[in-house]
Symmetry: C2
């Protein structure tokens, strides 16, 4: 077995035999993606879930006025996909794009269903991954509705510890649903608080 | 079999035998809930998913300033739960409350796992329900980030056709993440547009 991040992720997160994990890996393609390359466009069906072996992807939407809104970042060890589109076969409304040169594993939905049916351990792990996704989405809705911009930024740093160094501020503001000017003010205020501590 | 909405829902949405659906129903408790009654409080573990047989529930959070933020409404035929808490056994950060006198079915998580393991048809249906939930949450994030308040209100009417008549405007504004004054202005503008058609 190659020493991929994906192998380590599967071994740690999937309660399944080594044989089953080998089989899963053998069925997934690995793809090199250039910085800026687009893996999904609105109107297309999202055919795979992507696991980020190295690099960084983002999922975003563009509104009627041409403004970008970032739904998710996916650095190493994250999954990214339009799960509605993957699962229901609907046209996506999102872009998925590489923000850095990346390597991603392409996972077919059918494979997860097949292994969930044949292996109760895999089923449990699949359900846990889906619930983890739900937990993340639910938290994001609560944050967008009720948390202050500062609280959202602090949580962003917790979820994505190194992204403030890898991603332009304007993308972070877009993820947080605030203007770059507000983000800049929040960062100054937080720096000030640390300074006076 | 009783002629419950829940029975019809299960028969239409679960690819499972009548026996299995009977078994599921026999394992779920039905609970009458008074208007205003609270089924879940922050700090408690959410022990069940609720299916609304009749009436109306809401899931909401209260922020540091005491302001309520409505995450979801659940009229007849909807499920409602803090799925993170149900699944991971974590303390919830939400309230679930009845807005009308209601009847709800209480579903234990273990039951869904057990039936998913023993019955591939049930597994597929369970995965479909989870993905439907993900689709709904993902759409809500996109809306909160990128849609105008008018677009969000029009979508609200589509998802919850009769709730504008059952729920105070202040709750709808809370769900949409806007002030009651903004909602009032949007409603007037939409009425104006219809009038001039």
């Amino acid at each position: 077995m190659h020493n991929f991040r994906f192998t380590t992720f599967l071994t740690s997160n999937i309660s399944s035999s080594e044989n089953e994990i080998d089989y899963l890996l053998s069925r997934c393609k690995i793809k090199k993606v250039k910085k800026g390359e687009i893996l999904l466009r609105p109107g297309e069906e999202c055919k795979h879930s992507f696991f980020v072996e190295s690099g960084l992807l983002r999922q975003f939407a563009i509104d009627d006025k041409g403004k970008e809104h970032i739904i998710q970042f996916a650095p190493e060890n994250w999954f990214i996909a339009d799960r509605s589109s993957v699962y229901f076969g609907e046209p996506s409304v999102y872009f998925i794009q590489a923000l850095e040169e990346s390597k991603v594993f392409l996972i077919e939905e059918q494979l997860f269903l097949q292994l969930s049916e044949s292996d109760p351990g895999f089923l449990k792990s699949n359900l846990r991954l889906l619930h983890n996704h739900i937990r993340h989405l639910q938290k994001r809705i609560k944050q967008l509705l009720s948390d202050s911009a500062e609280e959202r930024y602090l949580d962003f740093i917790k979820i994505y510890p190194d992204l403030t160094l890898r991603v332009p501020q304007v993308y972070i503001a877009s993820y947080l649903g605030i203007t770059p000017e507000s983000l800049s003010r929040i960062r100054s205020e937080l720096a000030g608080k640390n300074f006076t501590k």
